[in-house]
Amino acid sequence: MTDGQISLRAAATDARTEPGLVRWIITGLAVLFLTVFVVLPLVLVFAEAFSRGVGAYFSALIEPEGLAAIRLTLLVAAISVALNLVFGLVAAWAITKFDFPGKSFLITLIDLPFSVSPVISGLLFVLLFGMQGFFGPWLQNHGIQILFAVPGIVLATVFVTFPFVARALIPLMQEQGTLEEEAAISLGASGLQTFFRITLPNIKWGVLYGVLLCNARAMGEFGAVSVVSGHIRGETNTMPLLVEILYNEYQFVAAFAIASLLAMLALVTLVVKTILERHLDEGQPVSDD
């Protein structure tokens, strides 16, 4: 066939095509790297978790300590995601729809948790609310427990995860501008109608994207939470903290069973993230002719 000949020749003379050997080596290296550093650990987590059979796996998960950790992690993630969703929307709205002095400073502040080590973030709350801390004595006099309790864990998690939603929305909203909102307002829509009918539908994939990453981090956070939690068994241990404790106590099946849940969370996040990214690309503004 002439078609086949032409495409063969085109392939052979394509300037971008490297010799076969080079292609194999490069691809092989990439696959090898991913296998050693990503696939193998993932497989090992599940292999260890199921090493004494399915029964042992599930009984490890329904241990009171395990259940408490799962419950606490879900609770903390739910609260931090909800708070950061509101905060992220408000911050992105303010930054993209209004001009005010100190705007770039605010953007820098939002990024702060990304550039600070999580352990420092945790210590920050110890300094604020600990016994020797800023608010410590006052809190103790009023019988309010923040450190080594759920509120402290929530605070640390909120701090560590607050850039996610805002960061996902700011570039998106900057690109979209305010024209559609202006059009809606001039057509008689109220502020709330404009937000729910115009702004939110335009940024919904960005919101979901931010929430997804925020949630993944909130559930997986170790450093900051470890500092403020106090590691009280069955009370202030989140899943990542429990994994460490169980592992140190040589309860490998239990440790890896909990770890396998976190690994699955990561896999689901990855899949959903890919889907959301596709939608985000589709949602680009209408271009002019």
């Binding site: 024209l179 559609e180 307002i185 001039s186 109220s190 271009s287 002019d288 002719d289």
Partner: protein, 346 residues
């Protein structure tokens, strides 16, 4: 509805967008705001719409203060330069938006909304696109949908920001004609902003020429073209030949040559003579503008000559059509007689 603007001032930081604008817009008028970019015309439009607020001045609709009302309460139809269609809604929902967000007390029921949207889509002749999304439309179609959406709320004024700016030349011409006939049909007071003089002169009943935040001239298209009030209007509208001259002793001088034209009341001193290309004729010697023929082409009944006028420091090259019964030679020095001209002090 009539619109009255009194002494509007608007500053953006150090930039003065509007510097004391007074304007009265009559009921049912189709008015063009014409000016170069940065002249303040879009700012003026946005202030009328309630999308921007003046630092000083008044905006009155039918004599009533409009500045106490937000954009949503002014019943103004605004068509944005890039249309600003709601990208996540179909064409139908875009047009229906203004009807759906009305307070419950006056909102139409679903059947009423459908009927009204259908009526509007028929008006802009795009009813067959009702279920498409904005990204699936051509520029001209988007423009007409944006117009239908603005008309849905039965606006008292229609404001259009560069309505044809983003379209290609052919579609632009069609839409111009269509907009004018639409205006005759619905007869709502309309103001559009443009930087394209041809558009303003062709479509509008009245043209407001703006520059640097001020109104330079208000008049019918014929008035601003034939009797420009300022040097800026003369050079902005139509092609003009501008020559440095001097007015003294009731005469107009180019260098040391007195021209046989009257100063027409221009103040004595250094001035600028504005003439349009087609308002000059080759004349027998005696007080015309002197220039030498550089290049000649003939076709049909005309010969076209490039003539280099010498005035002031440099040369001004102009292109002129003359009848063939007065043959010209390359290099020949001829005199051009301005038949219609304006003199503004420099």
């Amino acid at each position: 509805m009539t619109i009255e603007l009194k002494n509007l001032v608007k500053k953006f930081g150090a930039f003065t967008a509007l510097d004391g604008v007074d304007l009265k817009i009559a009921d049912g008028e189709l008015l063009a705001l014409l000016g170069p970019s940065g002249s303040g015309k879009t700012t003026l439009l946005r202030i009328i719409a309630g999308l921007d607020w003046p630092d000083a001045g008044e905006v009155r609709f039918d004599g009533e203060n409009a500045l106490t009302r937000g954009a949503g309460e002014r019943h103004v139809g605004f068509v944005f330069q890039h249309y600003a269609l709601f990208r996540h809604m179909t064409v139908f929902e875009n047009v229906a938006f203004g009807l759906r967000v009305q307070p419950r007390a006056i909102r139409k029921d679903e059947a009423g909304i459908r009927a009204r949207v259908k009526e509007l889509l028929d008006l802009v002749q795009l009813d067959w696109l009702a279920n498409r999304y904005p990204s699936q439309l051509s520029g001209g179609q988007r423009q007409r949908i944006a117009l239908a959406r603005a008309l849905a709320i039965q606006p008292r004024i229609l404001l259009l920001d560069e309505p044809f700016g983003a379209l290609d030349a052919k579609v632009r011409k069609e839409l111009r004609r269509w907009l004018r006939s639409l205006h005759e049909e619905i007869n709502v007071t309309s103001v559009f902003v443009t930087h394209d003089q041809e558009e303003a002169l062709e479509v509008a009943n009245r043209v407001v020429v703006m520059d640097k935040g001020r109104i330079e001239q208000i008049g019918t298209p014929a008035e601003v073209y034939d009797r420009p009030a300022t040097a800026f209007v003369h050079s902005f509208i139509g092609e003009s030949v501008v020559l440095p001259v001097n007015v003294s002793g009731g005469q107009v001088w180019v260098g040391d040559q007195a021209l046989n034209i009257k100063p027409n009341g221009a103040a004595p001193g250094p001035s600028q003579l504005f003439v349009r290309r087609h308002d000059m004729q080759v004349a027998p010697p005696g007080g015309g503008l002197r220039g030498s023929v550089r290049y000649l082409r003939t076709f049909g009944a005309v010969q076209r000559a490039d003539i280099a006028l010498t005035a002031g420091d440099g040369e001004t090259l102009i292109e002129i059509d003359t009848p063939r019964d007065r043959p010209l030679q390359i290099g020949e020095v001829v005199e051009l007689q301005p038949t219609r001209f304006r003199i503004f002090s420099a």
